[in-house]
């Protein structure tokens, strides 16, 4: 047993959780490259560990957001039809794909994340629903005005203002959500990077509600895929457990540090780091970078 190996895994989990929380991203985006590029683990094992970490971070966040009534459970359940179906199907396919292809797909997804970060917008895929001093509570709005009872209202106690919202384009939102499921099933990341923009930009759901609802959904989306990976032997508990335990601690520290750090500068720095890492993943995929 190499204690330094496990300390390294724990440090990677902590770092991924910390950076993820500081940047408003899920830790999975950083876990897979760390395990592949530093620990030289097969991509499928790295994706398995990331899958379990996604369920862990989602469960931790959602337990708070659901208690605060910030997640919209009805909206989440509707979109989960698409994401769970896509995630389960793509996780079944993943075991037949070569490591290089998975690395390449991950590199492309990371590049998309990096470009989103560098564009200067708050990354919607991981926006923290209750970040900063604002604590929001949501209450369902009057029922069934769109036939699905999806309308909601959330209240900002610091400003005393409430915002009513009514999700639009539900069928289109369900269609595009398939992508979030594929990302979760193939690459082991939560899928919030797709899901939150879908809810916020396409369905007109307030960003904080979208982020909280996405957090609620990720556990369900990832758990089917994670069970399939577990049965395939791709979830190595001696890799996944130190990562999971410390990604949560890192995320807690990151959430505490986030309001105290210069967010834009940090976002630019890590945007370029993410571009470099995605280039390494892509180079590995095409055989230019050897372990």
């Amino acid at each position: 047993m190499d204690i330094f190996y496990y300390l390294g895994l724990a440090a990677s989990g902590f770092g991924a959780g910390l950076i993820g929380a500081l940047l408003g991203l899920g830790g999975g985006v950083f876990i897979v490259p760390a395990l592949v590029l530093i620990f030289h683990l097969p991509t499928i094992v790295a994706v398995g560990a990331s899958n379990v970490a996604s369920v862990a971070t989602s469960t931790t966040g959602a337990s708070t957001y659901v208690r605060q009534r910030l997640s919209n459970i009805r909206l989440g359940l509707l979109l989960l039809i698409s994401t769970t179906l896509a995630a389960t199907a793509s996780s079944l396919v993943a075991k037949y794909l070569p490591n290089q292809l998975l690395s390449g797909l991950f590199g492309v997804m990371l590049l998309y994340t990096a470009i989103t970060m560098l564009r200067g917008r708050r990354q919607p895929g991981g926006a923290k629903a209750n970040e900063g001093a604002v604590t929001l509570t949501a209450q369902p709005a009057p029922e069934h005005s769109n036939g699905l009872g999806l309308e909601g209202r959330y209240h900002d106690p610091s400003s005393g203002e409430s915002e009513d919202y009514s999700p639009r384009h539900v069928p289109a939102g369900m269609g595009v959500s398939v992508l979030a499921g594929v990302v979760a099933g193939l690459l082991g990341v939560g899928g919030g990077i797709v899901q939150v923009p879908v809810m916020n930009l396409l369905m007109n759901v307030p960003l904080k509600v979208a982020a909280a609802t996405s957090s609620y959904m990720i556990g369900f989306t990832s758990t089917g895929a994670a069970f399939v990976r577990y049965s395939n032997g791709d979830v190595d508990p001696l890799v996944a457990v130190p990562i999971v335990l410390f990604v949560i601690i890192g995320a807690r520290v990151g959430a505490w540090l986030a309001p105290r750090t210069p967010n834009d500068r940090l976002r630019r720095i890590f945007g370029w780091v993410a571009i470099a890492v995605s280039a390494l993943m892509l180079a590995q995929a095409v055989g230019l970078y050897k372990r």
């Binding site: 047993m1 204690i3 496990y6 379990v52 369920v55 862990a56 469960t59 931790t60 959602a62 337990s63 659901v66 208690r67 009534r69 459970i73 009805r74 359940l77 509707l78 989960l80 039809i81 769970t84 179906l85 389960t88 996780s91 079944l92 209450q139 369902p140 029922e143 699905l148 009872g149 609620y216 556990g219 369900f220 758990t223 089917g224 895929a225 994670a226 069970f227 399939v228 577990y230 049965s231 032997g233 791709d234 979830v235 190595d236 508990p237 001696l238 996944a240 457990v241 130190p242 999971v244 335990l245 949560i248």
Partner: protein, 124 residues
């Protein structure tokens, strides 16, 4: 007095929050204890050598005092948490006679059950 649908959704939210929190705590406790146990003693000789235990072998390996079984149990408890939360939602939507969302929950449950069936090699 019959509760309103908002009050019944409140029950759904409360049960979901409780099951998520309980599952999270159970999973983390099992994983934390299992990892410390494994660091302290390693795997017992004669026990299942593979790190990834098939689902059906976890109870037997746990009884054989294999710390890897506790690690696997922690991972499985964590992965089962959304399933338990879904069951809680099925109960609350059924109690509220909200057939639409009960049906949606059952459909999602069927999809997750399918992946569980694959995991347990019931299907493939």
């Amino acid at each position: 007095m019959r509760p309103t649908s908002i009050e019944l959704d409140d029950r759904t939210y409360a049960w979901a929050a409780a099951t998520l929190r309980l599952g999270m705590i159970a999973g983390f406790v099992a994983m934390g204890l299992g990892f410390v146990w494994w660091l302290a003693v390693g795997s017992p000789s004669g026990a299942q050598a593979a790190k990834v235990l098939p689902l059906e072998r976890v109870p037997a390996e746990l009884l054989a005092l294999n710390p890897l079984a506790l690690l696997n149990l922690g991972v499985l408890l964590l992965l089962a948490t959304p399933v338990v939360t879904l069951v809680a939602q099925i109960i609350t939507f059924a109690a509220a006679r909200n057939w639409l969302y009960l049906g949606i929950c059952l459909l999602i449950g069927a999809i997750i059950l399918f992946s569980l069936a694959v995991s347990l090699h019931w299907l493939f």
